[in-house]
């Protein structure tokens, strides 16, 4: 079966400094891929490129067989098939939780408001925020905002969900909340790419761990192998630093 996401030879520079350098990555349907790597290794940049928020310097990305980095491709239509959750949530402060979630279904996907609201409320109940639909984001805790941001992406039934360090701003208890939510999504068969610094997170939900270094995929494989018995010296070095910091 052809992969949902296929990246070939991606190159991205910012003001002459190379962030992604002929990077290849495939993600199969229903697969959960964890991106790990040092800070600044390009995890967020890769996710933003896939969502066409950044323009590549070179390489191609195919989504479900469609060439989305073709300049003739309709970027808005491509983005409708991809959900992304940002590290800093990026909720709209002037809208309530429900309005945040309903904006895209109603304005972009032209779904009936009643039906979309039903779906939104079902999701909110599922993540334990059923009673906060009318609140503004600044009244919610970080973990609650993060879950709203995830629901906002999910309610559009994306083919692919990109999660950028969705747990990095949260305390351990809230990490647990978000983690169980991601695990449920995995159970639903959602295809996901998540950037993370939480090796525990990667170990528990990922089918495959991808280690980014120097703008490329240096090593990838099942979590036990990459995190437990890495082949590359750089990976070992990275993991030992993580262990020192107590995050494995």
């Amino acid at each position: 079966m052809s992969p949902v996401l296929q990246c070939r030879g991606l190159r991205k520079t910012f003001h002459g400094s190379v962030v992604l350098d002929s990077l290849d990555l495939d993600v199969a349907e229903h697969e959960v891929v964890a991106l790990i790597g040092a800070s600044g290794s390009g995890k967020s940049t890769l996710l933003r490129c896939v969502n066409l928020l950044e323009r590549l310097d070179d390489g191609t990305i195919h989504l479900g067989g469609e060439h989305i980095t073709d300049p003739r491709a309709d970027a808005d239509r491509v983005r409708r098939q991809i959900g992304i959750v940002f590290q800093a949530y990026n909720l709209f402060p002037h809208m309530t939780v429900l309005q945040n979630i309903l904006l895209a279904p109603v304005r972009v996907h032209r779904r009936a408001r009643a039906e979309a609201e039903q779906a939104a409320r079902t999701w909110l109940d599922r993540v334990g925020l059923g009673n906060r639909a009318g609140d503004y984001p600044d009244r919610l805790s970080g973990g609650q905002q993060q879950r709203v941001a995830i629901v906002r992406a999910l309610v559009n039934n994306p083919r692919l969900l990109l999660l950028d360090e969705v747990t990095s701003a949260l305390d351990p208890e809230l990490v647990g909340e978000v983690l169980s939510m991601v695990r449920e999504l995995k159970g639903d068969g959602m295809t996901m790419v998540l950037a993370t610094h939480e090796m525990g997170f990667a170990k528990q939900v990922a089918d495959r761990v991808v280690f980014l270094d120097g703008g490329r995929v240096l090593e990838q494989g099942p979590p036990e192998q990459v995190l437990g018995d890495p082949v590359e010296a750089r990976t070992r070095q990275f993991l030992s630093r993580i262990i020192e910091a107590g995050r494995l």
């Binding site: 808005d76 983005r79 904006l103 304005r107 972009v108 992406a153």
Partner: protein, 283 residues
């Protein structure tokens, strides 16, 4: 998530509440006393000055005030009508120009250039010159269907204030963080939808105080159309002054303008305060 609340203020807290209440009463009394003293001093000082009887006669004549009030009120109606039309017009124009200036791409280049030139030009020209050109120059073209002097004067105000408001709106648009745009675009919203549902609502909320401030300034400038003929409150007062050989009508017009501005200024303060509170709640 309901926690049963059986909290009663402790002795320490009760003492603090009582202390704060005593302080509050003391401040109110002090403020009242100092106001009374200052007011008396001012009143005595002014009314005892040697020229006071003559000033009183020519500026504060009640009979003249009563006599001139209807004419001035007639003029004030024109001020209010002009204010409402021009404020709405200038805001619409300003918002449009600000949005045009954000457009990208080669097709939008002339539009962008025009909008930029407009804001540069009309913030520099004195209002009076635009007013004269519109009300005296444009009718000289003798085009058919030429609007009245009043409408042309109103247009001059809209054009000049639109340039200021465009800059206010632009500042608001630029203050919306790029991550908000990224979030909106990532949901599949088009550029226009992003502007309309995400950027502009936040921008307008943020610039509401300066916007209302400019409206207060506009309120005073709408009277300038009387230079071209239409009779506004100030012009009406001027006519009354000439009729009565007495300056009281000016004072009447001045007081009416302040009364007119008060609600607007009040709303401005309220909006500013609310914006500050919301900011505080978020940070």
């Amino acid at each position: 998530m309901t926690i049963t609340d059986t909290w009663r203020p402790s002795a320490v807290e009760q003492e603090r509440i009582a202390y704060r209440r005593r302080r509050a009463i003391r401040s109110v009394l002090l403020a009242a006393a100092s106001t009374a003293v200052l007011g008396t001093l001012l009143a005595v000082g002014v009314t005892n000055s040697p020229g006071w009887p003559r000033v009183k006669e020519s500026f504060f004549d009640l009979a003249v005030a009563q006599d001139s009030l209807p004419a001035i009120l007639d003029g004030l109606v024109l001020n209010i009508e002009l204010l409402i039309c021009c404020a709405l017009g200038a805001m619409a124009l300003g918002l449009l120009i600000a949005v045009l200036r954000t457009l990208r791409g080669p097709v939008a280049f002339p539009v962008r250039a025009l909008a930029t030139g407009y804001t540069y030009g009309f913030r520099g020209v004195p209002l009076i010159i635009v007013l004269y050109v519109m009300t005296l120059g444009v009718p000289g073209l003798r085009l058919s269907g030429m609007p009245s002097t009043l409408v042309l004067g109103g247009l001059a105000l809209v054009i000049v204030y639109g340039a200021y408001l465009a800059e206010v709106f632009r500042a608001g648009i630029e203050s919306v963080h790029p991550s908000q745009l990224a979030a909106a675009r990532s949901l599949g919203l088009t550029y226009r939808q992003t502007m309309r549902h995400v950027v502009l609502p936040q921008a307008v909320r943020r610039v509401a105080p300066p916007l209302l401030n400019d409206t207060v300034a506009l309120q005073k400038d709408v009277g300038l159309v009387s230079l071209a003929g239409p009779i506004d409150a100030v012009r009406a007062a001027q006519i009354q002054v000439a009729e009565h050989f007495n300056f009281t009508p000016y004072i009447v017009a001045g007081v009416l303008f302040v009364l007119l501005a008060l609600p607007l200024i009040g709303v401005t303060d309220w909006v500013t305060l609310r914006a500050a509170r919301r900011q505080g709640a978020r940070s």
